[in-house]
Symmetry: D2
Subunit: 401 residues, 4 copies
Amino acid sequence: MSKKVVLAYSGGLDTSVAIQWLKEQGYSVIACCLDVGEGKDLDFIKDKALKIGAEKSYMIDAQDEFAEEFALTALQSHALYEGKYPLISALSRPLIAKKLVEVAEKEGASAVAHGCTGKGNDQVRFEVSIKALNPDLEVLAPVREWSWSREEEIDYASSRGIPVPINLDNPFSIDQNLWGRSNECGVLEDPWAAPPEEAYELTQALEKTPDQPELIEIEFEKGVPVALNNESLGLAKLIAKLNTIAGKHGVGRIDHIENRLIGIKSREVYECPAAATLLKAHKELEDITLVKEVAHFKPVIEQKITELIYNGLWFSPLTPALKGFLNETQKYVTGTIRVKLFKGNAIVEGRKSPYSLYNEKLATYTKEDAFNHQSSVGFIELWGLPTTVHSAIHQKGKVNA
Amino acid sequence: MSKKVVLAYSGGLDTSVAIQWLKEQGYSVIACCLDVGEGKDLDFIKDKALKIGAEKSYMIDAQDEFAEEFALTALQSHALYEGKYPLISALSRPLIAKKLVEVAEKEGASAVAHGCTGKGNDQVRFEVSIKALNPDLEVLAPVREWSWSREEEIDYASSRGIPVPINLDNPFSIDQNLWGRSNECGVLEDPWAAPPEEAYELTQALEKTPDQPELIEIEFEKGVPVALNNESLGLAKLIAKLNTIAGKHGVGRIDHIENRLIGIKSREVYECPAAATLLKAHKELEDITLVKEVAHFKPVIEQKITELIYNGLWFSPLTPALKGFLNETQKYVTGTIRVKLFKGNAIVEGRKSPYSLYNEKLATYTKEDAFNHQSSVGFIELWGLPTTVHSAIHQKGKVNA
Amino acid sequence: MSKKVVLAYSGGLDTSVAIQWLKEQGYSVIACCLDVGEGKDLDFIKDKALKIGAEKSYMIDAQDEFAEEFALTALQSHALYEGKYPLISALSRPLIAKKLVEVAEKEGASAVAHGCTGKGNDQVRFEVSIKALNPDLEVLAPVREWSWSREEEIDYASSRGIPVPINLDNPFSIDQNLWGRSNECGVLEDPWAAPPEEAYELTQALEKTPDQPELIEIEFEKGVPVALNNESLGLAKLIAKLNTIAGKHGVGRIDHIENRLIGIKSREVYECPAAATLLKAHKELEDITLVKEVAHFKPVIEQKITELIYNGLWFSPLTPALKGFLNETQKYVTGTIRVKLFKGNAIVEGRKSPYSLYNEKLATYTKEDAFNHQSSVGFIELWGLPTTVHSAIHQKGKVNA
Amino acid sequence: MSKKVVLAYSGGLDTSVAIQWLKEQGYSVIACCLDVGEGKDLDFIKDKALKIGAEKSYMIDAQDEFAEEFALTALQSHALYEGKYPLISALSRPLIAKKLVEVAEKEGASAVAHGCTGKGNDQVRFEVSIKALNPDLEVLAPVREWSWSREEEIDYASSRGIPVPINLDNPFSIDQNLWGRSNECGVLEDPWAAPPEEAYELTQALEKTPDQPELIEIEFEKGVPVALNNESLGLAKLIAKLNTIAGKHGVGRIDHIENRLIGIKSREVYECPAAATLLKAHKELEDITLVKEVAHFKPVIEQKITELIYNGLWFSPLTPALKGFLNETQKYVTGTIRVKLFKGNAIVEGRKSPYSLYNEKLATYTKEDAFNHQSSVGFIELWGLPTTVHSAIHQKGKVNA
């Protein structure tokens, strides 16, 4: 009986060829395709795997799990790698790894396989996640291993009857899920050149966005977006809807030269209309509901979670510890944010919360009570004391001179 | 002979009344007005002080010093307090304090005075700075001390012949310099309400900005902006010019509910067209010229400098230490950034640098040399090892079951 | 009916005088004395309050709560302020504040009072804690308010029949609880002079400690010390016992010039035999049970908790968030540590844990499996890549020259 | 003409065999041995290389450079990896790499070689450093490459006439320099067992240390130790002398289970009498000469430098930036520290400095001036305001109930 391998299958040329290649290595291949909101025809992909030679083919709807566990963590962490990249692919990789391992354990497979090359971050995210979830599974990376040129790969495909897409000269390499769409490749490599308009799909060019702003209201409960324009929605649906609305106004384009984990700089173009809008709205709600000490320390946690996810360590024991912190901070992040979408901007215009630490009554209270002359005088005296003492010691001569 | 006091004079009602009030306390008053790019008629203000009763009146042009020392530090630190506020007033306070102390030492004054109330951050910034520069000087805060109502203040002014402005019902409290304009007050206090259009002055409303984008090029040398659209300019002039250009496109409006040092949340509206544009451009130039370790650690330094400046500790000995770090990182931040200004957006479209760590030749080099199969395999194996070992220990039973 | 105040009563001169002084201000005084392991005769103190004039007197045994909530948090956080001070008094203040507020709410008091002066940290800890727990309670600080000289205080006491201790020339100011003993005052103020032997009470001078080492074993379960030398003990009892054993060997003397919150440097002498021993043992158990990422990030959390507690912010909403992180990390901190106590040293000689990530089997496993030539080669290549690229760009000329 | 390689030669079996092995690969071998204070007979080693077959043999005295650049940075950074390991070998590796590159450039060699295996940190430190200094040099790691068993290596040596040491059953693997001595190996691997006495060489067992304490005085100028017991000494000599004095009292033994960069935990035994004493003394001098803000932020920089050095990134551009910070902080770290060495303890008993921010005069000054009732009252009110407001909002019902 042949060894079984579970392959993360996308329907593209690389993983299609991988099915055949793995069979030739003596494996029985189980294809596994996840729906994390990439907007492809997944039933077609599921069937394609079988046609090419997979023994079995899974199509798993993981949109809710992706939204509620992965995207939500990124949202509440205000996760922007290097201040710019909202962790789109980095969020789906651990979820895909988890599903691959589940299928492998159910099917009694001894290995799992992914279609990443040796130059990117995703290979790290897949392999570390899989090892974390089941250290006994072997991980295969056919594309990295065969290291063919594009021509060699096409020759192999043709000789085995694997369909080769006609638009092979598409210069882009795309990954997409609910949290956004990433795009890298040849034409983007000159950092002095602006990305071509064809690089974008989820967002309108600013020149074509509506000339009227659109006001939306997002409601949060304990840090979770629960309603859009007064309509209660599950998180996955809310994100999908917001992608359409905010994308129409050109919100969420990102052009980023980033430091990959594996040591090189790469240029990436991202689109994330919903993520960009939600990240702003959530932060503004925190601005009125978190006390200063929490607001000022939370970014340290945020940066660490972001780095951890980017670097493929979602399943490290550090993640639940960081989430232990995060969860505590979201208790009172409840309220409504009004956002104006217009010409690529998502402008927060209004915020309200039953737990607002900023309100008229309080302002009056503090005016009368706390802000008398003496409080500030005493505060300033002690706040500046170390600096004053330092000056007194080090400027002795100077002052008297 | 009467004691001398040097007063930070703005020309407004508060500090005009303070001249008289200080005289009644037995002081001889030396007014001191700084030009840090606020765009007022400063000669008029200088004369006004004398008319009201100051013994002497200074008008000091500090635009270059403000730009080259204070704004530049903020730029290179990517200083945004709580991720939003670019430290406009917080940057001018230590410079004004420095000039007040210099004048006080020159004139043999025993005290300096400022016009801040007891509710804001600026009182802290003035007083800690003055004490740091000369611990022997007394600091007076007449407005905080007399604690009059608006009516009482006007009565006092009228009875002493001090001119009372006619637009006293102006609901805003403004401070402006080269780095931007800040605006707080009554009408802004409802956080659910958008700021009224009258709150803004440096920036066009998005609805009225040009329908054609404008492309600009900013050139940096060792982290310093030195030319705009190929015209070499001193920093103060470059900022002033960019304020006009970017302001026309509505760039740099900020609506921020922030945590003041003295413990309350306040709502502020800022405009900073040049700062917003330069901050983006500088960051993008760093993205291609700094190695990953520097890029990832620098934000820790940036956050500390930002906090220090916001909290009035510019003259703490911590500042030169942080700048010691900062200066080293700017050595190779040389190059040109192309920015598209359009409908409130400052979009970096192109970057180039003689020190770029991202370029074609290198990409080719790394492709051939570094990114073979084995490098990534080995890297991932050791990178994920702690997580793998943790799983092997903690999932012993599970995996075999 | 007179207003009621609950006074934190220690039995010393200051708070004894405060009972009378508060009565003269029109208050009915309820004395409240906590047992947090200070080793005093608390029944005597309880009675003394009544004799001096308190209307009621509480003596509350809070040793277990102190140990299990406050000392344990400090232990698991490896809390050492400025790397030296294990937060002795800083830990008891919030607990005392909590009890004062509980008594005040039960008795319908409108105010609580403490005996701190205006120069220390403890006034901050008491007042911020009380305000956090019940913002409506007034806080009184009689000693800070009356600001008498020692002589004036004694005159007042004598005239009201309040007993004045005979050893008033005792130069030390002491505070003690289970987690240690702190000592500040006059004779310690010269930082070039060693503290006199009389400053210490819980620890033997090194010159007098036993000439034979003593080996002890401490058992932890999920980060909590649960047994000492194979005897299961509640945490309060375990700490008390360990104070005796480790104190005999001179463990835990600290001589610290520290930065107080209120802006001055002060010199303090601490003794904490149990805390010093437990802190070392707990850290070593973490060294074998935590993965690297957790071990390297936890100190950031530790430093923040330490700072928060020192600065009187135990009841800030930041504390539960930090504890949310902390709790997650303690899940597997289970095992036994063997410590050699000898001549002031607490030397960890052995560690074992069912969850050890360091063990023979694993060493063998990793040797065979992970550490082949290629893994390290690939790792090093990518690890050093940013530095290599930086050199390649910046040393172009040099290398070929 | 054969290719040239510069080999880091230690005189031990591994690098002796490497000379022969490299020759058989077609290299002409230049041996290079550095004196960084390891206390070996280096002339003997230099000659041995030639006898075994090296074409040339260098012996470079690098003690001063090691002390003044590498050990001093570690001292001023209070560098203790994971709170325990003072970076002994991690400090010498970049210096050795630098000398190897210098010799290679001078001799026109195309490669350098080191004797590390594939399981440790040192291979990373060597290779990243060499690539940083000259990206064109090839790096060879013969021991990692041949991956022989001990027996195979001895067979190879015997067959080539390379002398095999008689004490090959020595279970320890030692590295030593001025900053200390590290020791790993077989017998140490059981973490429950104490290290055997034979593992130590620089320090007396506590049981055998003198029964009289020894008082020493260390003088610092701008953060640099310049005199010991009033004798001015160069840093290398001062460290060497202090190793003898403090070692006699058993100071500086460390038993550490640490996380290596390459992902495993290892157990190491270190001895560092001078380093342990200097680290304590330097920190105490900073305690009286640095203001609070600097003292509280410097540990962030310290931890980063420590991590960087441990991880082999000494020549990263991040290092000079961190040193830019560090240097600024050392300006006033001038003064004298008195240390009592006794039974394994290095106890700081006295500190004095012309720049002390803690002194009698100041204490009096602040008592009279700063610490009046009102300063603290105002400070506490504003310090605790966020927490108070949070409580007021969240406990509304509770308090009135």
